[in-house]
Symmetry: C2
C-alpha cells in the first residue's frame, strides 16, 4: 500500500473534535447506575445509555459524522455494510441529509434492525452471514452506484464518532465527582474500543474490550500482534460477530487497550436482565456484553486476556500493576451500553430464562 | 373537623420549594422521546423517565420530603401504607436517615416491590388487598409504635414531592425549546395528579389524569363533586387500584384538572411495549398508563371524562376550547412515566402478548 493509500490514523484530537461537532446533533445520553449492579460488582459502575440514542445505538455518532462529511464533499448517496445498527444509523443520517442510502445486512439480522433501516428510507440488501459476504456485496454496490462505502468499523469518522460516547461518559463522570478509573466497551469490529482508547488517551483511565466466546478476534489479534480472523460461533450478541477486527481499529487499539475479557451467552443474558430489571432499560445483547465483561473482570481480574499496554493506575510504589491489582484499586468503572435494538422474541426468551433459572434454584433449595 | 385539624392545602409555592429541596437529593431523571411514539400520537410526546429514579419510581420524591421532615422533628420511625412503590420509597428514605420503617402492602403486591422494601431494611407487613385494610393496619402500627404515618397520597409533602417530577419536566421541556401544552399523569390515590396541577399552575399547561377502567375514582369524584369510592376491578396496573382518591389530593386537583381518560389493560400493555421496544425503557404497567392515556386522548379527545376546569389553550377568538379543540392545538404533551418496578413474569407475559398478537395479525393477512 502506498503512503497515499494509507488512511491517517485517527487520534485523540479527532475524538475531541467529533465530540464537539456531534453536540446538539445527537442525543447527549444519560449516565445511569443502579445500587444492585454496584453491589454485585463491588465497585461503582456508570453506564452510558447509548441504547437511548437516536436510532437505538451509538452507531448514530459515527454515521452522522461520516455522512456529514460525504454531504460536504457533494456526494448524493452512501453504501454501508453492517450487522444492523450501523445500517440503521447510516440510513437515519442519510435521511436527515437527503442522501440515498443502500445498506447491506446479513440474512440473519434481527428483524427490528432491518425494519428500522427500511423505515428510515434505506434500500436494504441482505447478503450471506459473514463480514466478507457483506463487504463484497457493498463494494459491488458502491462501484455500481458511485456512492462511497462507509464501513461499520474501519473508518476514521466511525472510530472518532463512536469514541465521542466514551468521551462524553468520561466528562459526565468527572462532573458528577466520580471520575472513571476504567472504561469497558464491547468489541465487534473494534471501532468502539478504538474510539474509547482515543477518548481515554492522556488520562489515567484503563480501557478494556469485551468479546463473546468464539468471536474473539481482538483477543487473538492482540496475541498475534496483527488483525487475526476467527470463524465466529453462534452468540446472542449479533452485533459482535465480525470475522475480524478492522485494521485501522486494531492499529489504534493494539498498544492502548489493557486487554479483552470473553463472555458467554449466559453471562450476557444475566447482564441483560440486570439492565432491564434493575437499571430499567432495554439493552440488546451486544450492548449488555459490556456490563457482562465488567462484572466478570470485577469478580475475577485474571479472566483478562492482556494486551501489551500496562495498567494506567500504578501501585503505591509506582510500579505498573497487573490486572488483579488494577481492579482492586478501581473505584468507578464506566461501561458503554452501546445499543438497544432487540427483537421482542429474544426479550421474551431472555426474561423467561431467568424465570426458569429461578424455578430451578427454588427447586434445589426445597 | 376543626380548623386546627384541617391540613393546609399544598400550593404552587410548596411544589417549587419541594423541587428546590429535592435537587441533588433525588435523581434529575432524563426526558425521553421516540419518533415512533410521536408518529403514533401525531404530536410530540416527552416522557419524564421516573422509572430511572432511585427506588424505581417517583414516589421517592414525596417520601424523601416527608421523611426528611420527620427527621427534622426528631422522630425515630415511620409507618407507611402502600400498593408498593411508596413503601419502597419510604424504606429507602428511612434507611438513608437511620429511621425505622414499617410498611404495609397488600398480600397481592408485586414480589419485586416487597423484595425492594425489605432490601432497604423496612419491616414489611402484608394486610389484605384494599386501601382500607392497609390503612387500618398502618394506623394500628402507628399507635403501637408512636411512629407517624405517611400516607401514600393524602399528605402535603407527598403531593408536593410527586409534583416536583412534573415541575422538572416542565422546565426541561422549556429548556429544550419544546414547552409543554399539556401534562398527562396516571392516577392512583391522586397525589401525582394533584402535584402536577400545582406544578402547572399559572402556566398555559392543561393537566389530564389517567385511570384504569373500573378503577376510576377520580373520574367519579369529579362527576360527584366529592371523593367517591369505587370497588376496584382487576388491572395489571397494580399501583392504580386504591378504592378512593385522597381528600387532600382531590381538593387540590378537582378544579384544576381537565379531566380523566380511562384505559384498559390492552391499551396499557401496548404502551408498555412501545416504551420497552421504542423508548428502550422498562415501565411498570401503572407507569405506562400515562402514555396509554395520552395516546388515547390524541386519537380521540372525546374519550375525556371532563372536569370542571376549562382547557388552558383558548381558541383564536379567545373562547375556552373543548377537549377536541384543545388536543388539535397541542404540539407537545408531557407524560410522567411514574415507575418501573415490575415482576419479570409480567414483563415476559406482556412481551409475549405482542408476539401472539403479531402471529394473529400475520395469520389474518395470509
Amino acid at each position: 500500500m502506498s503512503p497515499v493509500d494509507t488512511p491517517v490514523l485517527p487520534d485523540r484530537a479527532r475524538v475531541e473534535e467529533a465530540t464537539r461537532w456531534l453536540a446538539g446533533r445527537v442525543v447527549r445520553t444519560p449516565v445511569l447506575s443502579a445500587p444492585a449492579i454496584d453491589r454485585l460488582a463491588g465497585i461503582r459502575i456508570l453506564l452510558k445509555a447509548e441504547n437511548l440514542q437516536t436510532g437505538g445505538s451509538y452507531k448514530t455518532r459515527g454515521a452522522m459524522l461520516a455522512v456529514g462529511r460525504l454531504v460536504a464533499a457533494g456526494h448524493t448517496g452512501v453504501v454501508a455494510p453492517s450487522t444492523g445498527n450501523h445500517a440503521v444509523a447510516v440510513a437515519l443520517a442519510a435521511q436527515r441529509h437527503g442522501l440515498a442510502a443502500t445498506v447491506v445486512l446479513p440474512v440473519d439480522a434481527p428483524s427490528t434492525k432491518v425494519a428500522r433501516a427500511r423505515a428510515a428510507g434505506a434500500r436494504v440488501v441482505l447478503a450471506g452471514t459473514t463480514l466478507e459476504e457483506r463487504l463484497t456485496a457493498a463494494r459491488g454496490l458502491s462501484s455500481a452506484t458511485g456512492h462511497p462505502l462507509v464501513d461499520a468499523y474501519d473508518h476514521p469518522d466511525v472510530i472518532a464518532g463512536q469514541g465521542s460516547a466514551s468521551r462524553e461518559l468520561i466528562e459526565q463522570a468527572e462532573r458528577a465527582g466520580t471520575p472513571l478509573d476504567a472504561l469497558v466497551v464491547p468489541v465487534g469490529g473494534g471501532g468502539g474500543v478504538a474510539g474509547a482508547c482515543l477518548a481515554a488517551a492522556g488520562r489515567p483511565i484503563d480501557v478494556y474490550g469485551v468479546e463473546p466466546v468464539g468471536c474473539d478476534s481482538l483477543a487473538r489479534s492482540l496475541a498475534a500482534g496483527r488483525p487475526t480472523s476467527v470463524a465466529p460461533t453462534a452468540t446472542i450478541a449479533d452485533g459482535l460477530r465480525p470475522t475480524c477486527v478492522g485494521e485501522l481499529a486494531f492499529a489504534v487499539a493494539c498498544d492502548r487497550v489493557q486487554g479483552v475479557v470473553r463472555v458467554d451467552d449466559d453471562q450476557i443474558g444475566e447482564a441483560f436482565r440486570l439492565l432491564l430489571l434493575e437499571l430499567k432499560v432495554l439493552a440488546e445483547p451486544s450492548g449488555a456484553a459490556g456490563l457482562a465483561g465488567a462484572l466478570r473482570l470485577a469478580a475475577d481480574p485474571s479472566a483478562l486476556v492482556p494486551g501489551p499496554a500496562p495498567a494506567g493506575v500504578p501501585d503505591h510504589a509506582g510500579r505498573p500493576a497487573g490486572p488483579a491489582d488494577a481492579w482492586k484499586r478501581y473505584r468507578t468503572v464506566g461501561v458503554v451500553l452501546t445499543g438497544g435494538n432487540v427483537d421482542a422474541e429474544l426479550v421474551a426468551r431472555l426474561v423467561t430464562q431467568q424465570l426458569a433459572g429461578t424455578v430451578r434454584a427454588e427447586g434445589m433449595a426445597a
